[in-house]
């Protein structure tokens, strides 16, 4: 649709093509300079427009290496204070003929990055309505990074478990060997020591429930 708040038609460089009538071959461009750059925003003026036309010409030359597009081949009209306008590309040989939409689209897509950088803008702030941006392909590393961290952590945990198991196993073996020697001495001295051993342990806190239960039942 054509919102027409302010119509500032640039006088067409060549009288033949009027982008109002040829809009089916044109694209609308919208810039959001102040939103993107904030304090460092520049004003949109004739020089900036010239730069824009030059970059589009560059894009067309890059795409179509045989033809020599000039700034005059880029026709702009319907500028608004929003900073949006329409442009049409005309053929260098025949200024009355507009280049078809598809070719313009492919050219812009190819050089999109250069066009954005010329204005210090991004795909979002320099919009070509109708030309979807080619989103940057994500960098897929060979090993997913999460597996690397996972590998480190699980390695550390395995090492910890093995260390704990080995130390307890070694300790138990050592205790078993140490027990074999005093047990032989015990057997020589008889059972007395064994009895004292058990009661000593009871005092240490092995709670003898049998005792306690008897107490309870008598109270009831």
């Amino acid at each position: 649709m054509f919102p027409l708040l302010l119509l500032l038609c640039l006088p067409p460089a060549l009288a033949a093509v009027d982008c109002n009538t040829e809009y089916k071959n044109g694209y609308q461009v919208r810039l959001s300079i102040k939103t993107a750059l904030g304090d460092q925003a520049y004003d949109w003026n004739e020089s900036e427009m010239f730069l824009f036309r030059a970059t589009i010409a560059f894009a067309m030359r890059k795409f179509n290496k045989t033809e020599a597009y000039e700034v005059s081949n880029i026709v702009v009209c319907n500028q608004t204070p929003r900073v949006s306008f329409w442009f049409i590309v005309t053929s260098p040989e025949d200024p009355a003929q507009a280049i078809s939409k598809n070719i313009v689209e492919q050219a812009v897509r190819e050089s999109r990055n250069r066009i954005n950088n010329a204005f210090l803008l991004t795909d979002k702030s320099l919009e070509f309505l109708g030309i979807p941006p080619t989103l940057a392909a994500p960098i897929i590393p060979a090993t997913p990074p999460w597996l690397i961290v996972f590998g480190v952590v699980i390695g550390a945990v395995c090492a910890g478990i093995v260390a704990l198991l080995v130390t307890s196993f070694v300790k138990r073996r050592r205790e078993k060997k140490a027990k074999v020697v005093p047990e032989e001495e015990d057997q020589a001295k008889g059972t007395d020591k064994a009895v004292t051993g058990e009661t000593f342990e009871d005092r240490n806190g092995v709670y003898n429930l049998g005792f306690a239960d008897d107490d309870r039942f008598t109270q009831l």
Binding site: P3, K34, P138, P145, W146, I154, I161, L165
Partner: protein, 600 residues
Amino acid sequence: MEKDERPSWDNPMQFVLACVSYAVGLGNVWRFPYLCQMHGGGGFMIPYMIMLVLEGIPLFSMELAIGQKMRMGSIGAWTAINPYLGGVGIASVITSLYLCLYYNVINAWSFWYLFHSFQSVLPWATCPLNSNQTGYLEECEVATPTQYFFYRETLNISSSIDDSGGVHMGQALCLVLAWMIVYLFIVKGVKSTGKVVYFTATFPYLVLFIYLIRGVTLHGAMNGVKYMFTPKLEQLANPQTWINAATQIFFSLGLGFGSLIAFASYNQYHNNFERQAVIVSLINSGTSVFASIVTFSIYGFKATFNYESCLERVRLLLLNTFDMAEDTISLDNIDYWISELNRTHPDQFASLAPKLDTCDLEAELDTAVEGTGLAFIVYSEAIKNMPASQFWSVLYFSMLLLLGMGSMLGNVTAIITPLRDFKVLARNFSNETLNGLVCLFCLLLGLGFTTRSGNYWFTMFNEYGATFSLLFIVLIEVVTVSYIYGLKRFEKDIEDMLGHRPNWYWKIMWAVVSPVLLISLFIFYIVDYIRGGTPTYQAWNPDLGKSVVMEYPWYGQAFIALLLATSVCCVPATALYAFCKKKQKPVPSHEHTVSAISGL
């Protein structure tokens, strides 16, 4: 001879930290803030504190007393209290088993998110591209990137519980890691657990404190905190508020699982558990409040961010449609311009109306979320918008991990301690082997939760596995101690341990208030189940990009019944078994002697 001596905590501080680590878990972070929001913000503190005093502290202290007195796990302790009620201990162990199975899956998800935070761009910050790189994947477009990352990349969720799909390898690996870490922490029983809890109990507080500072300094955080603390006292008239306060205290303290009995059984006989019970309960509730301040400041930040993004979208739409210079409309005068443009260009404005979002800060703050949705979707969405988001992400998921691991320690100890009390097992299996077998068993069964429909089974376990059974168990516990075992005997036991009798507060709570409260909660749950009709669950619909409500199939409902029955039926089954065994006991020998002497 050394094998018979019961291992014990190195010092009472380890026991307190173990209880804190167990009680302070994920529920404090993701359930309490939700309840606060639903039931009138600051006003919710009133029923919460009242329930803490009436129900939380007395029941907590009772479980510690039982464990410390009997010096055995839940099965042995309850069998010693009354031979017919050993089933209470078995029911506790079974409920703990169910909890262990699904709780560690949350730790697996935390690990997954933690490992994925080590990237330059957080993977849940943007949508992945579609095949021809012209736009984003459709499922991600209709939902949000954080939801897409959780449902598609983390869970690879199927669209209903019937569609089971295969095991998600990444999740399975994380679950294996989670169980290995649990094993590492409990491999030597209380000796290793006691050292680990110094870290698991204290580090989450450090992270919460850091997050508090970060949270309140975020733009818009004050909106959230103000929203939380403005009390809506009319909510106090709603009975649901009181019920939710009671159940939150109950589940937050971890009563009925047998973990507290297990932990206390390793105490010295004269340990002052009474004071420790009060301290731990107060710390638990304090942490809930602390965590909800952090959560609400994050909510406020997220809501403000969304609100301002919404306003920005509206502003751009107006600028583009009416082709005005960029600096004419700013976020402040948007409302003025909306009315102005409506007046000057009514037709164009009317055509614009369907695309115009209404931006409402209150509505953003009102979206209350709880559970895994809060922890993994809402929080990660807020984190991705913070500066230095990778650091905050790592910190946050480490905290979740420690909270979850701390609770797991208690859960696994609740299973292992009663098992070790069986002399058969203790003689033939060493400590390390038995612990390893339990962990392996739980890991293998837990792999079922890593399938594509695993999240639906997880939700089922979460809602039905441990809620109803716990109420039943603790009700039987408190009635047994107060009436069957006898309050007088219990008082004498405590005097034996502590040197003084419990005062009137404890006795009234144990004998009267807590049983009444529990019975009313129990009745409420039953009524709710009956009135609720067929149980339903939330299934993720990839085309709509949101969850839809679906009914459980017949086998799902049968499984729910099985979950409830297996733990609840243990109590009457064991009582029956003990009764039959007593009947079959041979007649005592002294009767024979009497009959012989009298010549009969």
